[in-house]
């Protein structure tokens, strides 16, 4: 790995800015549908904007807004956000393996602000050691549209005809499918987990209706993932590859 002192930060920053643009465009559209969920949770446009600016996590925010709509406790909220965002733990682990040893430590706190599927994906796809300024560039063009889209979704969600709201409400699920289907195609265990997860979720909604939706998600995730990990442990010998592979396919 090349030393940190040899990095061309301004070039990395500009490349990050341009790589973040298409990500930001996609984020804007999807965030609009997230805003509709935030609206039913009772958030104001400014609150939605700030929540998205700080959190930048599609599934995590969506799960959180569902629970906020149900006026869940803070502990329940924390748990569901933890579960929905557990993949970022893997991605951050993978990133640690690509940081130059002489990089000033404070950059780790800043890189950690917005480890999203897409920003992680483009960052890890860069050759060699990670230049934190590449991440900052990508964040700068990708994250504001995400926050703006959420705020606008809250503001305009009720002005749209019911039919348009109905159509937009599936955007997030489409994004989730785009994350889980490609790895399911390559890995039969993941494929079984995805379709098993669908079936289990359907069954749990009927059989475990005394639990909240968020709690059912936590329960099913822990049980199914632990069972799969015990029965079908992954084969990689180099830690971090699993997260890398998962994110590239996302």
């Amino acid at each position: 790995m090349q030393p940190y002192s040899s990095f061309d930060h301004s070039r990395a920053f500009r490349r990050g800015l341009s790589d973040g643009v298409p990500i930001g465009l996609g984020y804007f559209a999807v965030a609009f549908s997230l805003g509709i969920a935030a609206r039913s949770a009772g958030l104001s446009p400014a609150q939605g904007f700030i929540a998205s600016l700080l959190t930048s996590a599609s599934a995590g925010e969506y799960a959180a807004f569902t629970l906020i709509a149900a006026r869940a406790t803070l502990v329940e909220l924390a748990l569901i956000v933890l579960v929905a965002n557990a993949r970022y733990l893997l991605m951050s682990c993978a990133l640690t393996q690509r940081l130059a040893p002489d990089m000033p430590f404070f950059h780790r706190f800043l890189i950690g602000l917005h480890v999203t599927d897409e920003i992680f994906g483009v960052t890890i796809a860069q050759p060699g050691a990670v230049d934190p300024f590449y991440c900052y560039g990508a964040m700068l063009t990708a994250i504001p549209p995400w926050a703006l889209g959420t705020g606008l979704g809250i503001m305009l969600g009720n002005l749209l005809p019911l039919r348009a709201v109905s159509a937009l409400s599936v955007a997030l699920y489409g994004m989730f499918l785009a994350i889980i289907v490609p790895p399911a195609r390559k890995d039969r265990v993941v494929a079984c987990l995805v379709f098993g997860g669908f079936a289990a979720s359907y069954a749990a909604e009927r059989l475990l209706s005394f639990l909240s939706a968020g709690n059912r998600t936590i329960l099913l995730t822990v049980v199914l993932s632990a069972a799969a990990a015990a029965l079908f442990p992954i084969h990689d010998d180099a830690p971090g590859d699993a997260a890398e592979g998962a994110a590239k396919e996302a």
Partner: protein, 99 residues
Amino acid sequence: MQNALYILTMWAVTYAVRVLPLTLIKKPIRSRFVRSFLYYVPYVTLAVMTFPAIVEATQTPLSGALALVAGIVLAYLGAGLFPVAVSCCAVVLIAEMLL
């Protein structure tokens, strides 16, 4: 005020998940079980959150089901995040106009 607490909790948990490995873990995780568990978690969570919710989000269950099938097929064929999301929306829009 309650909403501010909710948002603060969302941010604190999400940031912790991202920044703790970056700042604490300097060595790779050894346990194969933990690594396998962490590898499977995202897929299970997203699968559980997607279905049956996608069918219940739309005005008619059928349009949601069609969006689900379209999303799976397009993602299987290799379409990216944004095209899949937009296509699912289009399928619902068209289905509900025709039905």
